[in-house]
């Protein structure tokens, strides 16, 4: 009898339902959602001040969902850049996602419909959380849960920014940014405890990002730092540093 119970428990742990995985992802992604508020609220305020009106900033957050790209876009537009230049600049700053999605594709196998939906929600933050938050198999439900709650934070924050532009206490809102950094640190510290090499790669990447950030825009600085630091690690340690799947 006791054996039967434990077997049932094992099987329910081994094959969680899609909905269960989705809600697990939603809970895991909540810090991203809150962490987005300073940026998404600021985006609503900045876009209104840059000549966009009414629901245009919110529509942009709903359809584009990219902090760096959207800020770059409205800044360039306001400074008088042509439509083509704005669209091209946005594409260039978002090329870093190629590296992230290619990395994610090694962790999870998706059919084309799943890729079409999940691909929309790949951001710097959801990529890192989805890649590192759990050690076992990554499921499409979990990833979609993380991406969905992050997306809602981004869109809702933009609504708040456009509706309450001008009357928001800026210092209180900007203080919420620490939530994202705390989440990143909570992901990084246990990884470093497993392998100091991970810490070395992250430290080199951060230092490179700081140096490149003095010369290039954030998107470029990040993709250069990430690419170079990860390549350095792959070149130095051919046995691999730590396999997140095991």
């Amino acid at each position: 009898m006791a054996k039967d119970v434990s077997q049932n428990f094992e099987s329910s742990v081994g094959t969680p339902t899609w909905g269960h995985e989705f809600w697990r992802g939603v809970r895991a992604g909540l810090p991203i959602s809150f962490g987005y508020f300073p940026s998404s609220i600021a985006f609503g305020v900045v876009a209104l001040a840059s000549g966009f009106s009414g629901w245009q900033p919110v529509m942009m957050s709903m359809f584009v969902f990219s902090g760096a790209g959207q800020f770059l876009g409205v800044n360039l537009w306001q400074s008088g850049a042509s439509l083509g230049a704005v669209i091209l600049a946005n594409l260039i700053i978002n090329l870093r996602y190629i590296v992230m999605s290619a990395s994610l594709s090694r962790r999870i196998q998706l059919d084309s419909l799943q890729a079409a939906v999940i691909g929309f929600g790949v951001t710097d933050e959801t990529f890192v959380l989805n890649s590192l938050a759990q050690r076992g198999a990554l499921t499409s439900g979990y990833v979609l849960g993380v991406n969905t709650v992050a997306y809602l934070g981004w869109v809702i924050g933009t609504v708040v920014g456009t509706v309450f532009a001008g009357i928001l206490p800026g210092r209180v809102i900007s203080g919420m940014g620490i939530v994202l950094y705390a989440m990143f640190i909570a992901l990084l510290v246990p990884s470093i405890a497993r392998s100091w090499k991970i810490g070395a790669i992250a430290a080199i990447s951060g230092a490179l990002c700081w140096v490149f950030g003095k010369v290039f825009a954030f998107g470029w600085a990040m993709v250069l730092a990430t690419t170079i630091a990860a390549a350095l690690g792959a070149w130095l340690w051919d046995e691999g540093v730590d396999d997140p799947e095991h």
Partner: protein, 102 residues
């Protein structure tokens, strides 16, 4: 300058496509495709490198005027994470420390 609806829609569509395609297309790669081992190692290290680049130097701008606020909040996060390895505790501690400092 203000935007006409048509101009806005072109901008919106162009930016949406330029964001979506780089994110989505690589997910269509077969995840078990044989890659040269160094490419596989590189892709597996990308998340950790991305973490480093996301934390620093961004954490310095948590308080735009005082870079040390982010650093002290981050140090609190490291300490709590080392002690309890708990995401919620870590976030609450960092948020509380940063809030006290402002």
């Amino acid at each position: 300058m203000t935007l006409s609806t048509n101009t806005y829609l072109i901008l919106l569509f162009g930016m949406a496509a330029g964001t979506y395609l780089p994110r989505m297309l690589p997910l269509l790669l077969p995840g078990n495709a044989p890659l040269p081992p160094w490419v596989d190692r590189w892709l597996k290290l990308v998340p950790y490198a991305a973490l480093g680049a996301l934390i620093f130097p961004g954490i310095l701008s948590v308080d735009p005027d005082r870079a040390w606020v982010g650093l002290v909040g981050g140090a609190a996060a490291v300490a709590v994470s080392l002690k309890w390895n708990n995401l919620v505790y870590t976030i609450v501690a960092a948020f509380a420390v940063a809030a006290l400092l402002r």
